[in-house]
């Protein structure tokens, strides 16, 4: 399995498939107690290791995925928004995730809150994220992101959303792109 549970926090996760049984699993809530349609997966601080699992595709009704404050590694799977396309709150902050932010995150088009802070994400912030028209909270702070902040995101969110990424430039972080040693643009000779 991709996900590991060294602290045994998921022992309530049995293979009982009767209607509503999954609603009693720790960290899982359902749309209503009569059916097994999952509403939220909230596993913050469960000591989980391993990678973000494809089994999330079976939680297609989930509007919340909170895997924050664990020890997850690997990258954000580009297919994540095919697995849980209706996610409204996505929190992967405080893990050991690496790699780029996939531009396919824009396919989670109902996102209201996207928290990816305090990982080791690298590369540029995809411009496609500006298409998330319901996004009200964005936290990319504390990563290794670099390059220009897409202007629509930069004007919609404060610098707290982007802080702690020394290679990022453009509004609203203080450094201007292309200037000084950290810039990536052309200098005037």
């Amino acid at each position: 399995a991709d996900l590991r549970d060294p602290e045994g926090r998921l022992t309530s996760w049995t293979s009982n498939t009767s209607a509503g049984a999954v609603c009693d699993f720790s960290g899982i809530s359902c749309w209503n107690p009569q059916e097994s349609r999952i509403l939220a997966v909230s596993l913050s601080g469960f000591g989980l290791q391993g990678k973000i699992p494809p089994a999330l595709q079976y939680c297609r009704s989930a509007n919340t995925l909170d895997l924050s404050s664990n020890a997850l590694e690997g990258q954000i799977p580009p297919a994540l928004c095919d697995w849980i396309p209706f996610v409204v709150n996505l929190d992967l902050s405080g893990n050991r995730l690496t790699g780029p932010l996939p531009s396919e995150l824009a396919n989670c088009r109902f996102l209201n809150s996207l928290k990816l802070s305090d990982n080791a994400f690298s590369g540029q912030i995809p411009a496609s994220l500006a298409r998330l028209d319901r996004l009200k909270a964005l936290d990319l702070s504390g990563n290794r992101l670099e390059g220009q902040i897409p202007s629509q995101l930069g004007s919609a969110f404060s610098k707290d959303s982007f802080s702690g990424n020394s290679g990022l430039c453009g509004h609203p972080v203080s450094s201007r792109c292309g200037s000084g040693l950290g810039g990536t643009g052309l200098g005037i000779v």
Binding site: W31, N32, Q34, L39, S61, N63, F86, V88, S103, E104, A106, N107, R109, F110, N112, S128, R131, D133, R134, K136
Partner: protein, 279 residues
């Protein structure tokens, strides 16, 4: 004078202090009051003044007031409301057997929960095999927080009087046979966190008034016959096609169909271009 036969009262004539009202009622306080103006119970005053206007002798007026006050204490609006509901429902499993309307309040009835002031805060009748319809009197349960009527065979419409239940936290009517519209008045339920009306035959449009309920966490209107545009403002920013699925005539960004005349949705799913060889 008043004459005899009023053993429960120590009322003196015109404007002088009343010593007490009828025992056990505690509805009146010691205060000076004129013959007709009983401040502590306006209804009793109405009864008294009507009787006086009809020329009834004073002792009869007081007897009427006493009986009226007694009736007011034994009658309990919330118990009456729930009793009306019971009368309208068919209860093959006898889950409402304990609902005795002669009791002073409904707080000892099974499936009813009261607060410390003996006012109903929960009605839990989910999965009870009930048939029949709801009643407007449910709107009188002014402290009700949880109305759980899910998974029954209840028919008829959702009473608009439910919009008076301003303390409601959870309204669960899902898995029934409700028809008719979602009342606009439900927009008054500003403390509502759970609104689950899914799996019924509700029709009409989704009231925009619901978008003002900022407490709303879980909305499920799926599997109905609703039509028109799905709101996406206010609290509805949190709700996705899951909340509205299986309502073929709904349209808008919360569904898979744009509304007629509206601009198209945001571009189709983003697939990054594969890198091309540069010469």
């Amino acid at each position: 004078g008043f004459g005899s036969g009023l053993r429960a009262e120590e009322i003196e004539a015109d404007g002088r202090r009343a010593k007490s009202c009828a025992p056990n009622l505690r509805l009146c306080r010691k205060k000076a009051w004129p013959l007709r103006g009983v401040e502590c119970a306006a209804a009793a005053a109405a009864v008294g003044s009507r009787a006086a206007a009809m020329g009834a002798p004073p002792w009869a007026i007081w007897a009427l007031l006493l009986l009226h006050q007694a009736a007011r204490v034994l009658a309990n609006t919330e118990g009456d409301a729930l009793h009306s509901l019971r009368t309208n429902l068919n209860d093959p499993n006898n889950v409402l057997q304990s609902w005795d309307p002669t009791l002073v309040n409904p707080c000892t009835w099974f499936h009813v929960t009261c607060n410390n002031d003996n006012s109903v805060i929960r009605v839990d009748l989910g999965n009870a095999a009930l048939f029949g319809t709801l009643v407007p009197q449910l709107g009188q349960l002014k402290n009700l927080q949880y109305l759980e009527l899910y998974s029954n065979n209840i028919t008829g419409t959702i009473p608009s009087e439910l919009g008076n239940l301003t303390n409601l936290i959870s309204l669960d009517l899902y898995l029934n046979n409700f028809t008719g519209p979602i009342p606009d008045s439900l927009g008054n339920l500003l403390k509502l966190r759970f609104l689950r009306l899914n799996n019924n035959s509700l029709s009409g449009t989704i009231p925009k008034s619901l978008t003002a309920i900022t407490a709303l966490q879980v909305l499920d209107l799926s599997n109905n016959k609703l039509s028109g545009e799905v709101p996406s403002t206010g609290s509805f920013s949190l709700f996705t096609p899951i909340s509205f699925g299986n309502n073929p005539a709904l349209c808008g960004p919360g569904t898979s169909k744009p509304c007629p005349g509206a601009p198209p949705f945001s571009p189709p799913p983003y697939n990054p271009p594969t890198p091309e060889q540069s010469p």
